[in-house]
Symmetry: C2
């Protein structure tokens, strides 16, 4: 669909087309489209702008990623479809590893368990492979695939991850995450940074840092902020992280939405 | 995906599966999935329950449908996937005609213009036909198809409707409607009843009666209410309609959401 640039909601509608394209590319799942719709509704409630509470969270996220020993970026089908270039830039900048994270079916699980190579150059219809291939096309040098059921406290196939990736990471940046998995990563002692437009979601509440913003707007700002903070020493980064309070940020975002409704 | 009945959001998750099934059946569009997700977010904000403002709107809607001369039910891919049986029951009960309403592509438009019969028994991959066939399978005796560009004030292919259906109707029940089309129907002097979980949408604002509720919960209540009011004479129905104030209802729903956030 061609959308005139003058349309008041041009960016939102273009983004919608991008995510629908993701389905056609075999990257995004149909359930991912519904999740995108939920995000759209909450984005509408924060006026489709990066608000102060998101900027504060982005600053803290930049510091946490820069002070991590084993930072990792966990990418699902929606993230890959919406921001492939930004994810690759971020990974190179921090630097951090990238791992594919999907709610894979049983069939896929067997595939992941039995495969011998990372195999993301293979032509395959499997969604995980499609995501990795798409990131590679956008400049990623390495993309880890989920391999072993190493995420504890979780029953579903989401417990699969890579022993060299999420399993080892101390800080996981996992935008648009599922609630169960976010809680499980926290229980494993990892610090979790997420991007979630719903400040009431389990992911938002469980994460160490929640950026309540549209990922399309948040990632470029996160990249800029990391470039600015790269020179800071570890102590300065730690002090900035210490001052951050995720509960306060979530409360502020709820108050903002509540005010804008009445 | 099998969801345990004990899950706190069981109904919402089952509904999500139903709409995804709609895509597999060729009834629901990918953009329809995103729209469903937006609805889910707003449903969450009204606590996934039919609130007082929705019940009031349902009462008025029942009266308006019963007092209409040419009532019509306009059905899109999401409505058909979610509530086929309820739509058919409603049409028989009022009684009202059913018309398929989709944002059909140019290709489909030519199809609709040139087709000679209603043709919904033909095996076809076209979404409009699939919707009609699905309603027929669920008991509909007749389903009208969009045929001529008779909806004024609208540029897109949504202006197509059936001369014996929407074009003639005085009251249109059109749940989960697009803003442009709702406004256009109102400008043509028709009374419009909608179901929309977003009280701020253009559809919600333009409609004569807006039921701010999940269609899966609202339709059974609407059917019950119509059964109860069927015996009332026209004057009593008119008095009930007169007392209804859509602006007030929308304001109340916004206040409810705002309060529940803070």
């Amino acid at each position: 669909m061609s959308i005139p640039k003058s349309h008041p909601r041009y960016v939102s509608l273009k983004t919608r087309d991008t995510i629908v394209d993701g389905v056609k590319k075999g990257i995004t799942s149909t359930h991912g489209l519904i999740a995108h719709g939920r995000g759209e509704a909450f984005d509408y409630l924060i006026k489709e702008k990066t608000q102060k509470f998101a900027l504060e969270a982005i600053e803290a996220a930049a510091c946490l990623l820069l002070s991590a020993k084993e930072p990792l970026i966990s990418v699902n089908g929606n993230v890959a479809a919406l921001c492939p270039k930004e994810i690759v830039s971020l990974a190179k900048l921090i630097p951090a590893k990238i791992e594919v994270n999907i709610f894979h079916t049983r069939k896929n699980r067997r595939f992941f368990v039995s495969q011998k190579s990372e195999g993301f150059f293979r032509k395959s219809k499997k969604r995980g492979i499609a995501i990795a291939a798409y990131l590679a096309k956008n400049g990623a040098k390495e993309v880890l695939m989920p391999k072993k059921p190493l995420i504890k406290y979780i029953e579903s196939n989401r417990r699969f991850c890579n022993p060299q990736g999420i399993a080892k990471a101390d800080v996981v940046f996992v935008p648009l995450e599922d609630g169960d998995r976010c809680q499980a990563l926290r229980k494993m002692g990892k610090k979790v940074i997420t991007v979630d437009l719903n400040p009431m979601s389990r992911t938002s509440k469980a994460a160490t840092i929640t950026i309540v913003d549209n990922i399309k707007r948040a990632l470029p700002i996160l990249i800029k902020t990391i470039k600015r903070y790269k020179k800071l020493n570890k102590n300065k980064l730690k002090n900035k992280i210490k001052r951050y309070n995720n509960k306060k940020i979530l409360k502020e975002s709820l108050q903002y939405i509540s005010k804008s409704l009445s």
